[in-house]
Point group: C2
Chain length 350, copies 2
């Protein structure tokens, strides 16, 4: 008659932000790996690449040339998935074939003029400049009253479909509210209606008491592996103040966010001594669509690596058809990241 | 003043089985690809590999040896994500940290004694034997009254996390109903309550009228690219008869299903002249949990390739954080697959 233990028995955990469950199989890392070994992209890029469409001064697909910029640089995506001038329209046949037009604006943000940097290798000042651009872009995109949601994100690494290694992120903004935001809105709204407090605020307080999944905190942000993390080393940055978008961040908060991003991504790189791939992005309230007092700003990091720089977690058959599944526990992942140094592993190498 | 066109304007489409939307960007395939080029696994495996744990006669991790089997062969997964003897238990702190134990049984099915085959290269008779095993396993797993859902699936190809190239599939069965099945149950139930007909049955009739997305049909099954497909060449096999699980398939239907699988996977291989990777699996009603008259058996194929054998679609930043997104239209994909020969491209090569 054993007792049920989260660190050794298969179980499901509830994602309080989406209402969905993840299957956790803590005992499963023992299986042998005969599968795919990813190529590790060599980390020897030049500071300037004449063929890169993001480097200062170079030409882009639309014929424009980039300015000789010295901090970050923003432009409209030359191959945008969403377009501003999409005509209005929709279709509905018997509720079986249903489609709506979608308008949007997509931007690209180069984080640095230097082709060979990544966020953890940039200074807090330079990352703060990126945070400022995010805030400015958010504010200016929100001036278009037809835009309802603004997704700020970064795909880092070839393994995450990043088609150019120059440090950069994207913003896709659109006329409808996308799926993940609709789910998180509903859950936060329901909690707020009952408790008159932020769901993530209460969750963070509980995690601060438990001390099992928090990796670190600074003045304005906490960084943790959520109890319901799906990806092996998934993390979340939560603002300590309950604000519903980046628009409301003060100067001090923006610097604090830059510090949190630098420390988290440094720990990530140190974990497998590799430029750690991930997709990361902010979740925040929709815009131009009423009030969202329940919404609590946060940022998700979804990194694919599981065992080493070259073995990732595959979200495939069972996961696509049935349910997300993970092997190591979130607590194990949080401990590993907690142990990692705040000094980037490349610092003392030549 | 243009008019809105599904084949050229960005839009969203409703997945009637889940209630979720997919963003379609038909104009977007023009962007240049500077990103990851996948390794194509060389297709020169021997018929027997002494190191493969699935080949007849070879040893497995648990110490057992495989019999000298001549058709398909089933055994319990030696590294199962779910275990039968998980103790009962759960946790709930303030509705913020919520977990439940999960019991399950995981099986592996070798499709063939030959290490170097894949489904499209097997005979209809040999695939029918696999369908028989699926039906038998479904029936025998369902005899455990604590099992509520049985997921039959295949991960094919290294790119889909398949850790052994020997042709094989898996079955994960478990004590709760997984996420995707819960979504599809709800949508089918709602439609059935209103119309007293199967949602997928009505959908199939409409597609048969439209002729835009059906790739082919045989006596008992239709194969199509669903209107709401997410993956570039995603397809679905739908049974013409409204049955809620594989348990009810007749001998004629099982042979017909084998024929449909052979033809679909042959067309897939011919598309980029490569052993086409995918995750595929059946969706059917839960078991030991009351009646599910609304459920309509179907099988999803989720293949990752987009442009060629070595360039896949990445479901990353925007897709993970906001909404699934696709570039080519489902109609374009259906036409391409329709054009493909029913003769496997390797047939005339030596
Ligand atoms: O069971 P396998 O083939 O070792 O593993 C593969 O399929 C499983 C079920 O979809 C996934 O959880 C694994 O990530 C994947 O590598
Ligand atoms: O925009 P990129 O970097 O060319 O493309 C990348 O990010 C997009 C947004 O997540 C994805 O849709 C693409 O599949 C991926 O390759």
């Amino acid at each position: 008659n054993q007792t049920f233990e989260l660190d050794s028995n298969p179980h499901t955990r509830l994602n309080i932000l989406t209402g969905e469950w993840v299957l956790v199989s803590p005992h499963r890392t023992k299986r042998p790996w005969q599968g795919k070994i990813e190529d590790v992209t060599p980390d020897n890029r030049p500071e300037y690449d004449p063929k890169c469409y993001l480097c200062p001064g170079n030409g882009r697909a639309d014929g424009d040339s980039n300015p000789e910029y010295t901090e970050s640089f923003v432009f409209n995506n030359d191959f945008a998935a969403l377009l501003e001038d999409t005509p209005a329209g929709n279709m509905n046949e018997d509720d079986l074939l249903v489609a709506n037009n979608q308008r949007g604006l997509c931007r690209v943000i180069s984080f640095s003029p230097k082709h060979n940097l990544t966020l953890p290798e940039m200074s807090v000042e330079a990352i703060t400049a990126v945070v400022n651009v995010w805030q400015n872009e958010f504010n200016s995109l929100a001036e278009n009253d037809w835009i309802k949601y603004i997704q700020i994100f970064e795909n880092k690494g070839e393994i995450m479909g990043c088609s150019n290694p120059h440090p950069h992120g994207q913003i896709w903004s659109q006329s409808d509210i996308p799926l993940e935001i609709a789910k998180e809105t509903e859950r936060q709204k329901t909690y707020y209606a009952i408790h008159r407090r932020s769901l993530l605020g209460d969750y963070l307080k509980l995690e601060q008491k438990k001390k099992e999944r928090i990796i670190f905190e600074n003045d304005h942000f906490a960084v943790l592996v959520p109890f319901w993390a799906v990806w092996p080393y998934e993390t979340m940055i939560i603002s300590k103040r309950h604000v519903n978008s980046i628009k409301l961040f003060t100067k001090a908060e923006k610097k604090s966010l830059a510090e949190a991003i630098k420390l988290l991504t440094t720990k990530y790189d140190n974990l497998f001594e590799t430029s750690f791939p991930y997709s990361a992005g902010m979740h925040q309230a929709p815009v131009n669509n009423g009030y969202y007092p329940e919404w609590h700003w946060h940022m998700h990091f979804y990194p694919p690596l599981l065992r080493s720089a070259s073995v990732k977690k595959f979200m495939v058959g069972y996961e696509m058809l049935a349910n997300p599944q993970r092997d190591i526990t979130p607590e194990f992942a949080a401990n590993r990241l907690k142990e990692m140094s705040a000094i980037h592993y490349k610092t003392n190498k030549t």
